[in-house]
């Protein structure tokens, strides 16, 4: 659906100010106090009514979004089903749950330790938010940069709440992770002499965002998947995990598998278990459209919490400032931050820029919401959605003709399918639900408080504090996937799993009842969202 005549009229205002905006250079960055103010007034995380306090379990007293609380305050999907836990279908060293970038990295490193690895994944191997990450991956590998400079950016972006040990692991391992990917044959954007091309992302103080055109995550994922297959690691697709199994010492020792197609259950015994099931955007916090993959339903949070792992920072959700607000068919589609990285500015209905184009995602999102809700300077689409412009045609003016097509082929293609030409026309954007900043708390090796239970990738929490910087998610999945895989694989050698049970699930139900929680008939994990009979 191309722009309507009314929208085309409004685009003229953007065009009228464009040359001047390019010439004038950067808009002023917000001060720390201005950042605090716009966040507390306009960021969705700060809406008190969007959350409730948990009254039982490890996070008793902590606030989390209602949509997640609904799954935590729910009974097990498999309650009442009779299992013979002695009937072991798979007996392995390391069970990796989830087939995205974190799971694939973990599986490869675990196998390198000599472990027998089984990967199970709810959809296809590679169906994950990883493939959708377009912009790039951060690593301090240039002369003017260092892991320490990266560390300070990470902490600032995370509102200084990140777990220091995890932020250090992320930033100090970053070049090592990038080198590993380069050696595996990931096709990074490079100059002929081998130097990596790198640009800014929101909140970076150095140009350390590396990319593979705007298919960065897809390129990393397909390479890792190819490598897992080359190494003969067993992968079972369309196989979810519905509960963890703990042994008589309370240590993780396997999981109950669920065949998504036949509806059958099986038991997997494992010396160590790595949860790499990704995020929870499909819970649609506060009703937001999401950029997330179909399977992002927070399964690890649910089954991990029942087993005694602690959630951290689940009160903070990342709203990506640039989700598509038009055309309606791609509402909520992620517009990569690389668009802003290349210089495109957010602009209001009068053609005025209202926020520095490279603020961190939380601040940029809050500023867009303010521009629309407080200042009334949004643009209303024919379906009633309100957004602001992202002035993509600036990019070719700044970097030369052809840049948009060369650097952003996926974006060009996805808008062209609906007759919008982003080389010549700006995009209409509104913040959309993008990432769970928090997750299950891990240590530097990726292990949770439950012995032999590991978490890696978006499902893990603490690394990014209250807000993740762009380019640190692809980094996170590789760094912590590798760390968890290596540790879990090495540790598995010395483990003897004792008798397995689901007693922790029974105890969880009792605790929930004792706390007087009304589950309203809900069961979890969710596994897949339900969109039937709805116009999204």
């Amino acid at each position: 659906m191309s722009y309507t005549p009314q929208l085309r009229e409004l685009i003229k205002k953007v065009e009228a100010t464009r040359a001047d905006r390019v010439k004038k250079g950067n808009f002023r960055r917000m001060t720390m106090d201005e950042r605090d103010e716009v966040l507390s007034k306009f960021h969705p995380d700060f809406i008190e009514a969007s959350m409730r306090k948990l009254t039982f379990g490890v996070n008793r007293g902590d606030k989390i979004p209602h949509e997640l609380a609904d799954l935590i305050e729910a009974r097990s999907l498999i309650e009442g089903l009779k299992f013979d836990l002695e009937k072991i279908a798979y007996d392995v060293d390391v069970l990796v749950v989830g087939g995205g970038g974190a799971g694939a990295s973990a599986a490869l490193l675990a196998q390198e330790q000599g472990a027998d690895v089984l990967m199970v994944t709810k959809l296809r191997f590679g169906d994950a938010n990883t493939v959708m990450a377009q912009g790039g991956i951060q690593a301090a590998d240039k002369e003017n940069d260092s892991p320490a400079i990266h560390y300070l950016d990470v902490m600032g972006g995370g509102r200084f709440e990140n777990v220091p040990e995890l932020a250090r692991a992320l930033t100090n391992d970053a070049p090592i992770a990038l080198k590993w990917l380069e050696d595996l044959g990931v096709m990074f954007d490079k100059f002929p002499d081998g130097t990596m091309k790198s640009i800014h992302g929101g909140g970076t103080s150095r140009k350390r965002m590396h990319s593979a055109r705007d298919y960065s995550g897809a390129e990393i994922m397909r390479t890792l998947r190819d490598e897992v297959r080359n190494r003969g690691i067993r992968v079972i697709e369309f196989c979810a995990v519905v509960e963890l199994l703990l042994d008589s010492d309370g240590k993780a020792g396997g999981a109950v598998l669920y065949n998504m197609e036949t509806g059958e259950y099986e038991v997997a015994r494992a010396k160590t278990v790595i949860l790499a099931t990704g995020g929870s955007g499909r819970l649609h916090y506060q009703g937001f459209p999401t950029t997330n993959h179909y399977g992002a339903t927070g399964d690890a949070l649910v089954i991990g919490y029942r087993a005694g792992a602690k959630m951290a920072f689940m009160h903070t959700i990342q709203y990506h400032p640039t989700g598509a607000a038009y055309p309606p068919q791609i509402l909520g589609l992620l517009i990569t931050e690389k668009v802003r990285g290349l210089g495109a500015e957010p602009v209001n209905i009068d053609g005025e820029q209202f926020v520095y184009h490279l603020e961190t995602r939380d601040v940029a999102s809050a500023a867009i919401i303010r521009e629309i809700k407080e200042r009334g300077k949004g643009i209303t689409t024919p379906t009633g959605m309100v957004g602001v412009w992202l002035d993509s045609p600036m990019i070719d003016i700044i970097h030369g003709p052809g840049t948009v097509e060369k650097e952003l082929p996926a974006m060009v293609r996805q808008f062209a399918r609906f007759n919008v030409d982003i080389v010549r026309e700006p995009m209409l954007i509104y913040p959309c639900l993008h990432y769970q900043n928090g997750g299950l708390l891990i240590d530097e090796n990726g292990m949770t408080a439950v012995e032999n239970l590991y978490v890696a990738g978006e499902a893990a929490g603490g690394i990014h504090g209250g807000n993740r910087l762009m380019g640190n998610s692809l980094l996170d999945i590789v760094v912590f996937g590798r760390r968890a895989g290596r540790h879990a694989g090495a540790r598995a050698k010395d483990i003897k799993v004792k008798k397995l049970s689901l007693n922790h699930v029974d105890a969880y139900h009792k605790e929930m009842e004792a706390a007087g929680v009304d589950t309203g008939g809900r069961v979890s994990p969710m596994l897949l969202p339900r969109y039937t009979h709805r116009v999204e």
């Binding site: 001060t31 720390m32 959809l123 296809r124 590679g126 169906d127 493939v131 959708m132 301090a140 590998d141 240039k142 003017n144 260092s146 320490a148 560390y151 300070l152 950016d153 902490m155 600032g156 200084f160 220091p164 040990e165 932020a167 250090r168 100090n172 391992d173 070049p175 090592i176 080198k179 380069e182 050696d183 595996l184 044959g185 990931v186 096709m187 490079k190 002929p192 130097t195 298919y215 995550g217 897809a218 397909r222 390479t223 190819d226 297959r229 080359n230 197609e261 950029t291 068919q329 024919p382 082929p409 996926a410 293609r413 897949l528 339900r530 969109y531 039937t532 009979h533 709805r534 116009v535």
Partner: protein, 225 residues
């Protein structure tokens, strides 16, 4: 906007859906909860390959369900899986030459030039062209031309020579990136510095700094132009 309803036929069965929907949303609107044939919902994962024909038209069309709008009288089915052959290899030991690809996938020389792969590609890639590059050992060109592939499998489903194009593409890209493109010297150097512990003390110091101190340093840090 008023809603205009149209007929579509999912695997031959009629459903009435709004004409503004993508094929994926229309399948869900019709009442299906997808398990196969649905992934990223944004055109990156290749899970939702769909084949369709409009009643009265001989032409068989394809598209990604999440990226294609429904049309009136559309007969459709999804192809969420294709039983493709993939060779297992150790990328570190391979040589980046034409023989390498030919050894694994000799069927690329069976191409009859029908161009069905290119016509069917939902990403509008010149698929036959990149197979041509592979035949001639132009690995760099094959890697470049195949880059935007989402590995949906539609090319392979239509190929009379039974080539699995997307597996040729990823082999070319990995060969190119590992063995032809120059490694990043600055990256190698930084890895060595890290392993030697060059940044340990500085990171340690930052980790123990107070929140107020970090906040101040963050606000005052210099930013590369």
């Amino acid at each position: 906007m008023s809603v205009n309803m149209i007929n579509i036929y999912i695997m031959g069965k009629k459903y009435v859906v709004p004409d503004s929907l993508t094929i994926m949303n229309a399948i869900e609107f019709a009442g299906y909860q997808l398990v196969r044939g649905c992934g990223c919902r944004a055109g990156f994962c290749g899970a939702c390959s769909t084949v369709y024909r409009i009643a009265g038209d001989y032409e068989l069309k394809v598209g990604l369900a999440c990226q294609t709008k429904v049309e009136p009288e559309m007969y459709l089915t999804q192809i969420p899986f294709f039983p493709a052959q993939k060779k297992e290899y150790n990328i570190q030991e391979l040589k980046a030459n034409a023989e390498q690809i030919a050894r694994f996938y000799p069927e690329i020389y069976r191409c009859i030039g029908c161009n069905a792969c290119t016509k069917v590609c939902p990403q509008d890639l010149k698929v036959m062209q990149y197979i041509g590059y592979a035949q001639r050992g132009q690995i760099d060109k094959c890697a470049d031309e195949s880059f935007d592939c989402v590995m949906c499998g539609l090319c392979a489903s239509r190929c009379p020579a039974q080539i699995v194009h997307y597996n040729v593409g990823i082999l070319a890209r990995r060969l190119y990136s590992r063995h032809i493109a120059k490694p990043a010297a600055h990256l190698q150097k930084r890895v060595e510095e890290i392993l030697a512990g060059k940044y340990d003390a500085e990171l340690e110091e930052l980790m123990t700094a107070s929140k107020e101190d970090l906040r101040k340093r963050y606000a005052e840090r210099d930013i590369e132009e």
